[in-house]
Symmetry: D2
């Protein structure tokens, strides 16, 4: 109810502030008998970890996650899984001056409006450090989906600023994505993106972009009609990630310009299976998966923390100017790729369990 839980059957509750003792998650509702190790979770976390490349924040959290309950003899028991990561490289003094002011683009003002006061150290609960817990929980979901259905989730950076890649979803691989520090699987475009990010960094500025998420091998029939359409829950999942301003599935906003005769994906039979010739739908019809690849785009605004001087106001309502010091990314997209993966996994597993409850 207070918004810290995601999912209805595979429930993930995250906790922790940026500069508090620890961040983590409780995963409740994971089916029993799934083999899972800290190492498998760590692998996903390392993709999100700060300091992993020249374009990510120098904050040096190791982000080591521990499984503290719900796993016995290497397998999930069906009881709550507690995932914990201790906060180590905490330099709250960097934020001392933030205590008395509201940073533009940040949640300082709205948290104060909502709660009457706030933990001002490193954005507190509004910090993107919370997404560490999502990635850890998502790693469990990814493992389950992969083992159960061979579902793979492939997200990558499609656009940085005005530079956009043109990627064939049928050919992209995890290796292509991970081989680039920008996480754009097209090498030439990745170089241009990198140069754009470095320019922004050198200017003390930041830059936005778009992540494309693709989910392959989802069986037809997942998603609840009416309010909990699969696309609606994917949209909510992505829009809940810090800095996200837009979501589209399949044709998306481009679809708004089309005619029905173009947009309708014609059905046909191949090897006795029902397929579609095109996939403007993005793998979802009437809110329910149709067996084709699900793909969607997620728009990220530029990071709010910049080194340029900005006009803003103080907590005691005076006009002031601000120049930031804290360590930060000037472009979050490369590190946001595993977060998009994780949220996609959490949506699919939850809808799979819901479908199973009522229909299988």
């Amino acid at each position: 109810m207070a918004g810290n839980t995601f999912g209805q059957l595979f429930k993930v509750t995250t906790f922790g502030e940026s500069h508090g003792g620890m961040v983590g998650a409780v995963v409740d509702g994971c089916p029993p008998g799934l083999e899972i190790s800290e190492g498998e979770i760590q692998k996903e976390l390392d993709r999100r970890r700060p300091g992993q490349s020249s374009i990510s924040t120098p904050r040096k959290e190791e982000d080591v996650v521990k499984i503290m309950s719900g796993v016995f003899d290497g397998k999930t028991t069906g009881t709550p899984i507690l995932l914990l990561a201790v906060n180590k490289d905490v330099r709250s003094e960097d934020y001392q001056e933030m205590k008395g002011l509201f940073r533009p683009g940040h949640a300082d003002f709205t948290y104060e409006a909502k709660y009457g006061f706030r933990d001002w150290r490193g954005s507190g609960r509004a910090s993107a450090r919370e997404t560490l817990a999502r990635v850890a929980a998502g790693a469990i979901a990814k493992k389950y989906l992969s083992q159960k259905f061979g579902i793979t989730i492939l997200s990558f950076v499609e656009q940085i600023g005005v530079i956009k890649a043109n990627i064939d979803l049928n050919k992209v691989t995890t290796q292509d994505i991970e081989s680039s520090i920008v996480r754009c699987p097209d090498e030439d475009t990745a170089k241009k993106m990198l140069s754009l990010i470095e320019t922004a960094r050198d200017e003390g500025d930041s830059i936005g972009g778009v992540i494309l998420g693709a989910i392959k091998n989802v069986p037809a029939g997942l998603g609840e009609p009416v309010f909990d359409k699969l696309n609606a829950d994917l949209g909510k999942a992505m829009l809940s990630i810090n800095a996200v301003k837009g979501f589209e599935i399949g044709s998306g906003f481009a679809g708004a310009k089309m005619k029905g005769s173009q947009h309708n994906d014609a059905f046909y039979i191949e090897n006795n299976l029902i397929k579609t010739r095109t996939n403007y739908a993005g793998g979802v019809l009437g809110g329910i998966s149709n067996g084709q690849t699900i793909y969607f785009r997620v728009a990220f605004k530029p990071v709010s923390t910049i080194k340029k001087e900005q006009n803003t106001v103080s907590v005691d309502t005076k006009d002031i100017t601000l120049k930031a010091n804290g360590r930060h990314d000037c472009c979050v997209l490369p590190r946001a790729v595993p977060i998009v993966d994780a949220m996609a996994a959490l949506v699919i597993i939850d809808h799979y369990l819901r479908h199973k409850a009522q229909n299988l």
Copy 2:
């Protein structure tokens, strides 16, 4: 869990199929003491009603809604409000031939995949007739928000196909919107849109578009951080509407191209109030309202029902061709405007009650 309920504290459960006995909603959690009449609800429904203009489906439902419980002496009692509309102009024979095939772009195939069989009459539960119930429930929410805070919700058609209006959100009025059958408040653009819609209709085709939603006077502090961000719940609400493929708030996908120094909305003080000079955020920071106008865009694909011949498959997996007969809109956007209004109202009232529970 089965996806027919929206909201956590102001809970709306809809029921009913297109050609069944009735459609409607149970509204549970509406605060007691709100004056509400069937007439007020009917006014909103009339904006969604089929047959209201030359460009909407000739299906002639009167869509008369009755309040059957939860209101006493003209006021809500705090107990569940039952809203009912009987289905009258039902011509299931139009759909007899649909029984044995899967229409492209429709949910026929996915419902069959999910449930094993389906009510094939007029799309059954997947019919947009379900949105009648949303508009009725939303009318109660709109009344509450208006009376309590002076919140107004103003949605309008911003784009049809490639034709896009440029509207000043500060000046648009309900009258401007309602005076056009396209529900675009810019008269010149509305004419061009109308002509585009008529062309699509005459070709037996359909056309998509974009609705812009604006919510004014929302107090700062609504929205839950982390998973239930106000923008995430607005996104889910809109993406749950039939035919919606995209959602963006504030700068949206355009924001992905910007730099932080451009995108950050500078705070300033005016009359002792904290305001922002620009509003790229779209009225939400860190998932919580900041007191500025909330605005967002919703992309609709073209209607799937067209009169042109299409390739598709039969239930017994044979390749066939299809030419539709049923009555339908060739562009849903004008009639979708009150649906967007309703869903926006349901999100805001739910978050207001959630905020109230925990903070006021």
Copy 3:
């Protein structure tokens, strides 16, 4: 959230006031493909119906229920099932004088305290007429459980006032229960109970009692550990029925007097199955069914409406006296038996679906 919904996966939302337009329920989450007819539901309703015998209220509702959505070709579709019963024999004038006072033992005062005003006609939402909707929804659950697992639910009146029957759970049958207007399967005791009820009626008084509920053939493994133990959810279900003041499972309050060496049900092997020699546990260990018969007791207070003169207060806080007129039962237990059955069925089906989601 406002308390009108029961269940997490098989969700029943009831609506309606005693003297409003209609009462009924939306059942959301019923698996598709279940054959169900209005006749099957009606059979359960007839067991709850007023006026069915000499000891039930003369209010003559026919209580005819209609299925208005969610069923197609005689089978559930997986979409919400709307069950409606129109209120007919409404004599609100009987309640005119109740408008200005708070009846002892009734919810008049607490509804006014909670909501600021109330629908005073026939107890409004607090009327036991709401349980009609539970019985209708429960009939669907009973059908499913019977068909799927051969689960049978057998509740009966075990005690009226101080008269208590001693029934062998292994031998009791539906016929034995239904052959008595008291719904006590022991003929001799039933006669004594009847006489006690008639005495109370003739005195213008009322009398309480205990219903024993038994659920047979529940497979081992249903129930969630910790907060949603099967016994905890059964307890909540029963305590939510009007006039219920107590619940116990298995040994219950008598178990508090026992020693562990007596109470522990010894396991043994029979035909390769694990069984228990005694059943003090009542079929539940650690909140999870163990395959033995689940049995529990539900204590009902005497009906609050009596014809004797009582001291009470008026809405404008004056001491007054009251003598009731309205039609009422002087002992609700015989008519409450199908309500206990229904609530038990709703608990078991919900836990079955929850178990299925996570474990099968």
Copy 4:
């Protein structure tokens, strides 16, 4: 959904197994601004702590709880509160022989039936050690209720075996309760109870009993009608505690023997306030608090772990005998008093927030 969360607005999710790394809770939905310290929580935990007296288990957990998130500058921030207690005195070797068998009265068999395998060390998740987390979370709720309304919760041991105290609820104090190691405020009866417990202990047996819970100063109007009646939620809360077999509110099972003219609590006016002369209702009418003291009884079966030899079966379905070794209480009631307090606090705060959301 998997049953590890209690509450709808003040949500407590517990995690952890008896012999795993740690046990604890996430409290989500606690209003911001409440002053709370680890010391205040510890005080409640010390009442539940093993080894606190001659009649409790010698397992020597210190049960030190740490607040790891959600509290800043000594006040709750409105974000999730993580409460952690590390498991220290873990002697899993005591349980090695339990691995292969199902203990009578325990959840070994039903966990195995539900999940396919189980963490057999010290009862795993089914261990009463889980209630530590409830007491810690309940301490926060108690603080809030006390500060906001002056609500006090006073539970005590009313009965051990057949020995029953007769306590005047108006006079009982925390001091009276805490001054006895049995937690029965009547000194003479407490002595007899102690002697009965010691006898059971010396026989290698165990003994059950009843706790009476009383909640004072609850304002009228809390509780949701129909399914989430305050008594129904209190019942569920209590029945979710390990070893509980029965719950009654107010008159309870004794009320089943009464007539309406006796049971109806007459209203009267005192100092312009509406009160009742008797309180058979137990402070709740129609599921909503009426301002009188809420009181209820909770029946505990005797502890299942005894030192006497018992017949049981092995995991590979053979008949065997068992003699327990593990450290245990032979009567849980004295240590269960703070658990009853905690669960009562969690119910009341949750209903207060729900009421606030919809009505204040």
